[in-house]
């Protein structure tokens, strides 16, 4: 395991900047990770985090811990949070209506990740995100 990054806080919009900063730092400290892989992974992580912020109950009171590992073959993140259980569709499709203003977040994350898993662990939700590194630009 090449590196560990941890962010601890509450699932509120203002915390998203810290998430972006963490991923930026990981990229700077691992220049061998392609910009494309990092950009797509950041996109997916943001969507999963958005979903927790938007739907986590109690709103503003959900605590989360985000862990990122940069491994030789993959980028792996785990988001553990204590909101209510997720009951949505983890692997759903994009909205049928092209003019829909919502519903693209998790489908977008699912598209760019090689693995997107969710498990309920006691009173926690655990989201695991993996993108295998392509070695591109």
């Amino acid at each position: 395991m090449a590196g560990d990054y941890v962010l601890d806080g509450f699932a509120v919009p203002d915390e998203l900047d810290k998430l972006h900063a963490l991923l930026t730092r990981a990229g700077e400290e691992h220049p061998d990770v392609s910009a494309s892989d990092l950009m797509l992974f950041e996109t997916a992580v943001t969507e999963v985090a958005n979903n927790v912020i938007e739907h986590g109950v109690p709103t503003g009171g959900v605590h989360w811990t985000f862990t990122l590992d940069v491994d030789p073959g993959e980028l792996q993140a785990v988001l553990r949070e204590n909101g209510q259980a997720f009951t949505g569709d983890l692997h759903g499709a994009m909205p049928d209506d092209p003019l829909s203003e919502s519903g693209r977040g998790l489908p977008l994350a699912d598209t760019v990740l090689d693995e997107l898993e969710y498990v309920r662990d006691g009173s926690d939700n655990v989201w695991r995100m993996v993108r295998r590194r392509t070695g591109g630009e």
Partner: protein
């Protein structure tokens, strides 16, 4: 996110910068609605200084597109960078939000 609005006849250019995420999306939608209400239903959202967009930002662009069209206008985007273009493509939204190279190209014919 900062959004600067510049009116030109029936057109308005909204220049956004930073991350167009769930924090900034309501700001963008509000700016579009204000431009439309101010008599500028032809909107160019210039994204050349936006380095990241998420599905909330996409939702704001779609909402703005609908607001503009309801006022007999339209919404076009310009200057999208790699991440924005990639996300537009992955969500198939590049079919209804064609990314123009710059403001001049986006406003061609207006």
């Amino acid at each position: 996110m900062d959004i600067v609005s510049t009116g030109r006849g029936r057109m308005a250019v909204l220049s956004a910068s930073g991350r167009l995420n769930m924090v900034a999306a309501p700001q963008l939608k509000k700016a579009v609605d204000e431009a439309v209400a101010g008599g500028h239903p032809r909107i160019v959202v210039d994204l050349s200084a936006v380095d990241f967009i998420d599905s909330s930002g996409l939702g704001a662009l779609i909402g703005g597109l609908k607001s503009a069209r309801q006022a007999s206008g339209d919404l076009r985007i310009s200057g999208a960078g790699e991440q924005v273009r990639t996300v537009l493509g992955l969500t198939n939204l590049d079919r209804i939000l064609k990314p123009y190279a710059d403001i001049e190209e986006a406003s061609h014919g207006w």
